[in-house]
Structure formats: C-alpha cells, structure tokens
C-alpha cells in the first residue's frame, strides 16, 4: 500500500511536469508577432491582358526569417503606381493592398506610355512607408508585345495562327523571335494546355485538335500565354471559337462487379485472395463435419 502511494505521487509529478511542458509550448504558439523576426518582400510584376490593357501587381508581404512558411500579408498599404517619362515619373494611380497583400492597378490600353530608346516601358510601384514599415520601391521594364490570334478552317482542317510583334514609333509591326508560349483552352476551374512551342519570325501556327470539349453550343475560349518573359513579361491573348464538341450527357455505365473499366490484375489478385480464404473456410467446415462423424 505504502509502495502504491509512493508510485502514485511519483506519476502525479511526471504528469504535472508533462502538463507544464505542454502549457509552455502552447504559450510559445500564442506569442505576439515581432516585426524584427520578419523580412519584408515587395514584388512588382506585370501582365498584358487580352484587351491589351496591362495589369501592374504588387505583392507586399513579410516572411519569417526562421520559418519561410510563416508569411504575413501587409494589408491596407497604399501603393502608388508610376510610369516613367524620360527621367521623371508620372503617377498613374494609387491602390491599397488587399487581405492577401496584393495591390493591382490596370493601365488601360488607351493610355499612352513612354517608350525609351531601347523600346522598354518602365513602371514603378512605391510605398511611402509608415510608423512601423520602411519605404518600398520597385521598378519593372517591359516591351509592349502584341499577340494576335486568328483561327481559320480550310478543307476541314482547323488551324490556329498567332502573330507576335512590337510596334515601332510609326506603328509598324516588328516581329519577334525565340519566344516560348503555351496554348490552352478555358475550363471551369483552370485552363487546359493543348499546345506549346516557340515563336519563329513572329509567327506560330498549329492544327487544332477536333476533340476539344466546348459548351452547349460548342464554344470555347482559346488562350495564348507567354509566361514571365525577360523582355515582354507575361502576355495573355484570347480568342473565342466554335470548334468545340459538345458531348450529349452520356448514360453512365451501371455499377457492376465485372466491368472492362477495372484492370485485369485487380480481378486476378482479388480472385486469388478470395479463393484462398474461402477454400480454407470450406476445408475447415468439411473437417468439422468429420469431427462430428467421428464422435457419433
């Protein structure tokens, strides 16, 4: 009895210690946010849209120096977007960052942007700083690339033609070289890639597959996409097409044990297992019957 009491006291002490360790670890998890533990990230990117407008996007977030997974977006920070004009900056507008730390400004296609001698447009994003946060500034240089998508059908062959070009000072097309791009069709959740290649002499063409599913009318959206190019940034172009096929609602195959949809190995493995097990059961029952007969 004395030993038992002693044991209980001992284990109670261990449990208390465990509890304290757990409480302490919980406190660590709930400790306050320390700005000095974080590194500020201020990224500016640009994307040319299908209507030739341009999106300028700033991602403003703090990343924990010790734990890269721990990222905190900076919200409600006023970001000012500028376009360069010779040596000065022209204010385009100001947008506050959203809950994800993102501020987006769309430069309309009609807005004339200064192009320097090398053919680059320069955009700048600035954050003026606040009591706790330092000033931030980032610039991005990009050439204004145009993509033209044309779809043509000749002799039942459906072909997609793409032209990629810059415009010189008098508006003449200057075709570009060696640019990788991806073609995709729009879906409910994301775009489905159907072709990828490299633009040569400013042109790219391919034969459109004839089994792309469309909507009820056979329509789908075809996208051409250049992803984060060194000179042209991200460029997107889209064209609507009636080349899709619409599958009538298929009558689903009835659920059944023996179907072509299942691989043959599945049947083999399952059959071996089941025959092995049930044969054993039958053997046991037969032997039981024998035991009964012996005892009669």
């Amino acid at each position: 009895m004395q030993q038992m009491k002693h044991d209980i006291k001992y284990i109670a002490r261990i449990l208390t210690l465990t509890g304290l360790i757990i409480s302490y670890s919980h406190n660590i998890a709930a400790q306050e946010f320390e700005l000095s533990d974080y590194k500020m990230g201020f990224k500016l990117s640009t994307k040319k849209n299908v209507d030739n407008s341009r999106t300028l996007e700033v991602l403003y977030q703090a990343t924990n120096k010790k734990d890269r997974k721990d990222r905190i977006p900076i919200v409600e920070a006023l970001i000012e977007f500028y376009a360069s004009y010779q040596d000065s900056l022209v204010l385009l507008g100001g947008i506050k960052t959203n809950n994800n730390g993102i501020a987006e400004y769309i430069v309309p296609a009609s807005k004339a942007i200064y192009v320097n001698e090398e053919g680059f447009q320069t955009f700048t994003a600035k954050f003026a700083g606040s009591e706790g946060l330092k000033r931030q500034k980032k610039s991005v240089e990009v050439k204004d690339l145009f993509l033209e998508l044309n779809l043509a059908e000749e002799d039942s062959i459906k072909t997609v033609y793409l032209e990629a070009f810059l415009k010189d000072s008098i508006g003449e097309k200057v075709y570009v070289e060696d640019v990788d791009l991806v073609f995709s069709v729009g879906g409910m959740l994301s775009r489905m890639p159907i072709e990828d290649g490299t633009i040569e002499d400013g042109r790219y063409e391919f034969e459109m597959p004839d089994d792309i599913p469309g909507d009820l009318n056979g329509d789908f959206k075809l996208y051409a996409f250049i992803d984060d190019h060194d000179e042209y940034g991200t460029v997107l172009q889209m064209s609507e097409s009636n080349w899709g096929v619409f599958d009538d609602i298929q009558v689903p195959e009835k659920n059944k044990l023996w179907t072509d949809a299942a691989p043959i190995w599945m049947y083999i493995v399952l059959t071996i297992l089941l025959v092995g097990a049930w044969a054993n059961y039958v053997y046991a029952v037969v032997k039981l019957w024998r035991i009964k007969k012996i005892g009669m």
């Binding site: 044991d7 009835k254 059944k256 035991i291």
Partner: protein
C-alpha cells in the same frame, strides 16, 4: 476414452461464474440495457428525421460513427491477430488471455460494422452496395474483406470454443438451464476429445490461426486504403495502412489489458490471470506505443515539411482548433503509457491498466483527428455557407449511439463470460495432463 471424458470437468471457480448471476452483475446488466435503450431511441429519431439530427453536414460527411467503426474494427483485427499468434506459436501463457481476446475479437467485429450502417443516410438503399458494386472502389474491397474476415473469425473462434463446449456438455454437475445444455450439446458437435478428433481440430485451428493473421492484415489495410487512396490532405499517405495496423494493435492490446483487469477483479481470477500476464501484455503495449509514436511522427512531419498549402492548412487546424485533442491523442496517448511501462517500478497491474486506458482513449481521439479536421479543410471549400455546415460537432444522438455501442460490447462480454468459461478449461486440463505425464516420466 471414457476415462478421459470423466476427468474433463470444470473447475469450481468457473462453475460459480457459469451457474449464478449475483445482484451486482444484474444491476450492471440493467444499466447497460438502459444505455442501449437510450441509443435505440436515438436510432429511431435518426431513422425518422434522417442525418439532420446528427452533426454531419455537407463538408463533414463522416462523424463519430466512422471513428467508432474504425476503432472497433481495429480492436477486432488486432484481437484476431493476437489470438492467431497465441495459437499458431502455442504461446505458454495463452490460456490466461486467449478466451478474452477471442471474445473481444468477435464482439468488436459485430459491433464495429453496425456503426458504418449508421453513417448511411438512406439505409433503405443498403442493398445497392451488393447489387451495384464497383470492383475499382475501395468501399467494395472493404465490404468483401470485412465479410470474409467476419466469416473467418467466426469459424476460427468457434474452433477454439469446441473443446470447452464439449466439457460444458459432459459436466453433469454443472447446474444450468436445460436450454443451455442443449445449446452446449449442439455447439460441441459430438466432440469427445478422441486423439483423432483432437488431431483434426488442432490442424484446422492452426491453419485458421495463420489465415486469420493474414486476413486481419489484409482487411485493416483495405480499411486504411478507403482513406489513403483519396487525395484528401491528411489521408493521402503511403504509410497509412501500416500506421492503421500498428494503431489497431495498440488499441487492441489496450482493450485486452482493460478486460483482463475487469475479469480478474470481478470474477476474482487472480490465480489464472496473474501479474506476469499483465507485465507481458504491458511490454507489448510499450513496444506498440513506441512504434505508434514513430508512425505518428512519420505521418505528420513530412506534411509539415512539404509546405503544401492544404497540408499546412490542416496542420494549422490541428494545432489551433484541435490543439488539446492533438496533444491528448499524440503526446499524452503515447508518452504517458511509455513512461509508465518503461520503468520497471511502475509495472504493477494498476499502472499497466491505467496506461492501457490512456492508450485506448488516445487512440480514439487520434481517429477523430484523422477524420474530422481533414473533412473540415477540403480542397474546394463551399463558399458563403453557415459555419455549422463546415465545422462538425457531434449531437447527443451520435453520443447516445456511441455509448450504446460500448454498452453493447460490455453487455455481450458480460453475458458471454456467463455462457462460456473465460479461461479455456480444455487447455487447462490439457496443461495439467501434460504436467502429470512429465512428472510420471521423471519418476520412472
């Protein structure tokens, strides 16, 4: 032959348990029946009103029912596994625990699948599972595996019961109701313990014990695949099947220890279920606790390290909303049993049982954390919906039915203990005969 039969009588200790039911036992049985009746009322409400009366909604389509299902089936498979090992290797101290393990196995295997039926919203369409099965579906595999395992377990357990049924049939001094004698006679299948019968029974029991070990592994693996073959965060894991098997064994050994403690205490079987048996089971529990802890760590650490958005989101949920449950399941549920069982001074019957209780509770919570938080953090969250449609809280209906399941387990265990000897009498007789032969040989 008749000489052998005459010697095969039941020990007085077991005769008392089989013949009379004391008042304390009657009160215990009545309390269990009451809990089951409340569960029955809850079940009727669920059938009448549908799953609306439960906490299960669009996101969390599985609740405590599936957790109870996994838990009970896990106990059953581990029982079958351990029982198979005990018989196959003819373990020296199997007599003390084998019958307890066998009863636990068969009861869990009956009660477990009842919980999966409670998960089905339209019970009237239950037969569709058999009319329109898809062989590619893990649910179909599970139905096949559970049914095969259920039949196998019943045959195997029946084989282990036969010699005792024969003794119960032949013991004329045993004062039980005539219908019980008839049942014993029927179940004994003319078994007279002749050398030929003995040899056949031993052979098929041994074959079936090997079969049952394999079946337990296959069936619980298939159950784990129901989760791991989906892409859900927290489920899509290559180690889920062995993790399930280790966790099942861990909880199974825990339940066996608790039952050993209860049987020893209430039926005063200190002579048969001794400290050495608890220490043996405790050491097995210790090894399993460490393995379970290792698998748990291996399961969560790569998820944390992977930086995958949904995995990180799941871990955030586990360490915020389910913080205490996570700590209880995966820290307390492992470390406390390990601490108790690791030190020799704590290896007393009470402490080993306490460790087993902690292990069993921790395992139930572990199942809860596998199922619920994952369903609460889906890949495609439903937008602009009510919080109660996203977050799961079990209703009293679910708790009542869960309690009824546990009560049914306890009730049938109590009734079975009063129907067959909790220690295999035939094995005791055989051991005694073997010892006698050895003594005789020494004398010669």
């Amino acid at each position: 032959m008749s000489e052998i039969v005459k010697k095969r009588v039941i020990d007085k200790k077991f005769v008392t348990i089989l013949e009379s039911t004391p008042n304390s036992s009657k009160i215990w049985i009545a309390s269990l029946v009451l809990i089951i009746l409340v569960g029955l009322y809850a079940f009727i409400l669920q059938v009448l009103h549908g799953h609306e009366v439960t906490g299960m909604r669009d996101n969390v389509v599985w609740g405590v029912y599936i957790i109870n299902f996994i838990f009970f089936v896990g106990i059953s498979y581990s029982g079958a596994f351990i029982s198979g090992i005990l018989h196959f290797f003819d373990t020296p101290w199997k007599n003390a625990v084998s019958r307890i393990v066998e009863i636990i196995t068969v009861l869990s295997l009956i009660i477990g699948p009842i919980f999966i039926l409670l998960c089905i919203g339209r019970l009237d369409r239950l037969h569709y599972l058999f009319l329109y099965p898809r062989i590619q579906s893990p649910i179909t595999w599970d139905i096949i595996a559970i049914m095969t395992d259920l039949v196998g377990c019943f045959i195997y357990l029946y084989l282990t019961f036969i010699p005792d049924f024969a003794i119960l049939r032949d013991d004329e001094k045993l004062d039980v109701a005539p219908w019980r004698k008839k049942v014993y006679r029927f179940l004994a299948m003319n078994y007279q313990d002749t050398p030929e019968q003995k040899a056949i029974l031993k052979k098929i029991t041994r074959t079936m014990s090997a079969m049952i070990i394999a079946m337990a592994i296959v069936a619980y693996t298939v159950l784990a695949w129901i989760f791991s073959l989906t892409l859900q965060p927290g489920w899509n894991s290559s180690i889920f099947a062995p993790y399930f098997i280790i966790a099942g064994l861990y909880s199974g050994v825990g339940v066996i220890i608790i039952c050993m403690f209860a049987v020893r205490k209430f039926f005063k079987l200190d002579l048969y279920i001794r400290k050495v048996h608890f220490i043996g089971a405790g050491v097995i529990l210790l090894v399993l606790a460490m393995l379970y802890g290792y698998f748990t760590f291996s399961e969560y650490f790569p998820r944390w390290f992977s930086h995958k958005k949904n995995d990180v989101q799941l871990l955030d949920t586990l360490f915020s909303t389910y913080f205490w449950e996570f700590i209880l399941a995966n820290y307390i549920g492992v470390l406390v049993p390990v601490m108790i069982l690791f030190f020799k001074r704590f290896r007393t019957i009470n402490f080993i049982t306490f460790a087993a209780v902690i292990a069993v509770l921790g395992l139930w919570l572990n199942r809860y954390l596998i199922v619920i938080p994952t369903l609460e953090t889906p890949y495609l969250p439903i937008q602009d919906t009510r919080p109660e449609f996203i977050h799961y809280t079990a209703t009293w209906i679910e708790w009542a039915l869960s309690a009824a399941g546990i009560a049914s387990f306890c009730l049938f265990f109590t009734l079975l203990v009063r129907f067959v000897p909790i220690i295999p009498v035939s094995e005791l007789v055989e051991s005694a005969q073997k010892s006698k032969i050895k003594v005789d040989q020494k004398r010669k």
